[in-house]
Chain length 480, copies 2
């Protein structure tokens, strides 16, 4: 229930997370629908801001939004062999509609590559129709066994970009362009540093040639895959017969990409910045950036304080917490837990002195400032907080990234790490993109998160499992 204590991170990180989500009015479990949640106003407000930031960037890179149906004929999924194998166990199936058993069942989309394949086949005839760059904002459903709010829910909200190109080279450019967009939003909007890289073949999207990801480190040291961008090659083009006539008059299959981020980002945001007092939101995604809490006892104080508070609230575009029957202390507690970046206090003595007290959520620092400087100080504080949160997360990522030169070392370094107790790390080691490597990591519940696009370490080396030469160190970690 809202108002209950928050479990400290040290005690149990997983319970802390759930407490912060609920106490921050971000979401609550919807026990009546397996693995689903209600996204509450503060959580939805963050999603709206993320949507806007992403959507602006999608449009600036030439994409248009559209909307495809929720349901997919079951037979469609079977057209791409790896795809159906990957998604079959997770499907929710509609067998009855309009009071009748359906001849062919529909599945609720787990993702829309198959529908896109079908429609691309209708829309694309010639090289003049390419590139075709679309995106949709939608809900999807994957019947997961273990769910956690935002991080893994049976229904989730996301965007899925789908593009078709005349050459593999151009498709790959698109894949990396959108990975950059994701990294930009993660780092410069969410203040969450990420590592861009390519997934191993065992970990790629079902039906892709290669998958790229951004990986973030949570406060417990576990990795979170925060976004993916897939080079689909001609796999779906062939499965759905999407051919185009080239400039030279030759028929060829299109080269496709798909890329997505979801409400999972919000889980990453929470586990990157929040503390034992509750939610901390970077200013750029905070639904409310600043709140003013008025302080008064007597009625004559009230009138004076409220007048000044209203004036300042209007000037700053801040929310004035004018609720009656709530103490200032209860109000501070309320906004602190909801992660509002800046809270102002204004009492009778402040009014008399032309001052107001500004308090930062992340550092807890409090400082009286001149009312006339409130707007400038607020802007500076929000800006500084945004940068400080990124720097802090970046520092954590660096200090919890370690090198290892044998599989024993890797295993030891990650042995005690759990979602509950923390202790996770990003272990950088030389490892080959090979099934036996992924299998060996699985033995101690770790995975190769990705092979970084840029090598920040010592270049080539020998794979710690196969002994073969590899290009660079990869990121190994336990993950959500």
């Amino acid at each position: 229930m809202i108002g209950s204590p928050i479990t400290p991170r040290e005690k149990d990180f997983a319970t802390w997370y759930q407490d912060v989500v609920i106490q921050g009015d971000m979401a609550e479990p919807a026990e009546i629908v397996k693995g689903c949640m209600v996204i509450k106003p503060n959580g939805w407000g963050v999603w709206e801001r993320l949507q806007r930031e992403l959507d602006d960037r999608f449009k600036a890179t030439g994409h248009e939004n559209l909307y495809l149906p929720l349901l997919i004929p079951e037979s469609f999924l079977k057209k791409e062999a790896e795809h159906v194998e990957g998604f079959s166990p997770e499907l929710a199936v509609v067998t009855v509609a309009g009071g009748k058993e359906l001849e062919e069942p529909y599945v609720i989309r787990p993702t829309s590559e198959t529908l896109v394949g079908h429609f691309f086949g209708k829309w694309i005839q010639s090289y003049r129709d390419l590139p075709l760059l679309i995106n949709q904002w939608a809900n999807v459903m994957r019947w997961e066994l273990r769910t956690r709010m935002f991080l893994r829910t049976t229904e989730f909200l996301w965007q899925e970009g789908h593009t078709a190109h005349a050459s593999h080279e151009e498709a790959l450019e698109e894949v990396l362009r959108m990975l950059d967009v994701y990294a930009d939003v993660a780092e410069n909007v969410m203040a969450m540093p990420v590592i861009k890289g390519v997934k191993t073949s065992s970990e790629k999207f079902a039906g892709a040639l290669r998958s790229y990801s951004i990986e973030a480190m949570m406060q417990n040291g576990l990795a979170l895959q925060a976004g993916t961008s897939h080079d689909l090659g001609q796999n779906f083009g062939k499965a759905f017969d999407v051919q185009f006539q080239s400039k030279e008059g030759k028929l060829d299959y299109v080269w496709q990409t798909s890329w997505g981020v979801s409400t999972r980002l919000i889980g990453g945001l929470i586990m990157t910045h929040s503390d034992d007092k509750g939610l901390i939101l970077p200013p750029k995604v905070a639904p409310r950036k600043a709140v003013i809490v008025p302080i008064y006892r007597k009625d004559e104080e009230r009138a004076q304080v409220m007048e000044t508070a209203s004036k300042i609230a209007r000037e700053l575009g801040a929310h004035l917490d004018a609720r009656e029957g709530q103490t200032p202390g209860a109000k501070f507690f309320h906004w602190e837990r909801r992660g509002v970046p800046v809270v102002f206090e204004l009492g009778p003595r402040d009014v008399a002195a032309g001052k107001i007290v500004i308090k930062r959520r992340d550092t807890g620092t409090k400082e009286p400032i001149a009312q006339s400087e409130a707007a400038v100080t607020l802007a500076e504080t929000l800006d500084l907080m945004q940068r400080d949160l990124f720097a802090k997360a970046q520092q954590r990522l660096m200090s919890n990234t370690v090198l290892a030169n044998s599989i024993q070392e890797v295993e030891e370094m990650l042995a005690d790490a759990t979602a509950e107790k923390g202790g996770g790390k990003f272990v950088m080691a030389h490892a080959k993109d090979a099934p036996e490597v992924d299998a060996r990591m699985k033995e101690f519940k770790a995975t190769v998160r990705n092979i970084p696009l840029t090598d920040g370490y010592d270049g080539p080396g020998k794979c710690i499992i196969t002994g073969e030469n590899v290009d660079r160190r990869v990121v190994i970690a336990k993950a959500y």
Copy 2:
């Protein structure tokens, strides 16, 4: 296929509508998923603008957005007797998930009153929790037999507002407030005049005490219910045991409302304004307000024209159609069909004379203006076009609204009206809110659209069916 001719309205209004939707790149049927459509970029762009206009108004009236699950346990629907009866025939049912038969099936939400009832029961304890004002943007599914793009599709997108109040009076204020918001957006954003009124008991929402609607007239004279706002009374409060402690310490059930508009609005928009050349979009909802088509033959003309065109495009925030291999004629045709409000032409002689030609989509008027005045003229033209479109639609509504004083007259006036041939009217007659009245109208496929909130006619009179006294004339029409 895009590029095919558009059937004239005179010949077959229903086919014209479908042609305009497809040729305007608004949507296309998704035959592979029964009754669904793909909302294409131009259609989605209109929806984005409508969403923004509506959402801003919802927030300004104190509502917060959240998100509830897509699936509802089948048993939930049964908790409100009228509600389940109304929606049962239209449900899509998930019986299998994660590879297993489900113990209790889920239905895909046809609307969310039952889920809201459940969660309101958890969130509301005291009068301090009231009013609770929420909204969600979501997809819903109703398995309809006859579907038409935007107007009636098995899946559609909408917003559903849900609120809980401490008194019936306050709930009713909310119902009417949101009806006003809908009318405001319809008239002042979509340029589509509407009649606000209350539905008869036979036509109300399944589970409501009373339903209110806005009704618009399409170019064929048929009515379109464009938005509804429901006074739910305590029906769902009782079904889901949503009680609150009043200021006086008494327990009572909450008074609820719900209200929604959907992608159906886009169908109304199209049938209000478009013509035989294709789509016409009021400037306020047009994804692209102005396009510049450059005209040149020789290469040296091209450079000059494109330079000036780019400069003006930047100044106006207009889209420059720089596609190669397309004639200017093909470009005009392209944008005309897509309903772009203003198209500019710029040729070598215009460049030399410092002129540019501005063309309005609705009237087809073309006029050379000075390039230096383009920005001002564009703003004025868009503004004028928005007002003219409303005035034209208003004029049509008035001239096709007629009075009748007997059921025979009503029947005669509506006898020949069909969606295909047109000839529809709004017939104003005195009629009682009674099942036998609705039944009599059904005999000639008409309905009482609503009982207007304000009487624009001659006050009380005798019901043309029952002979009883009634307050005012009601709107009778054939409808979508």
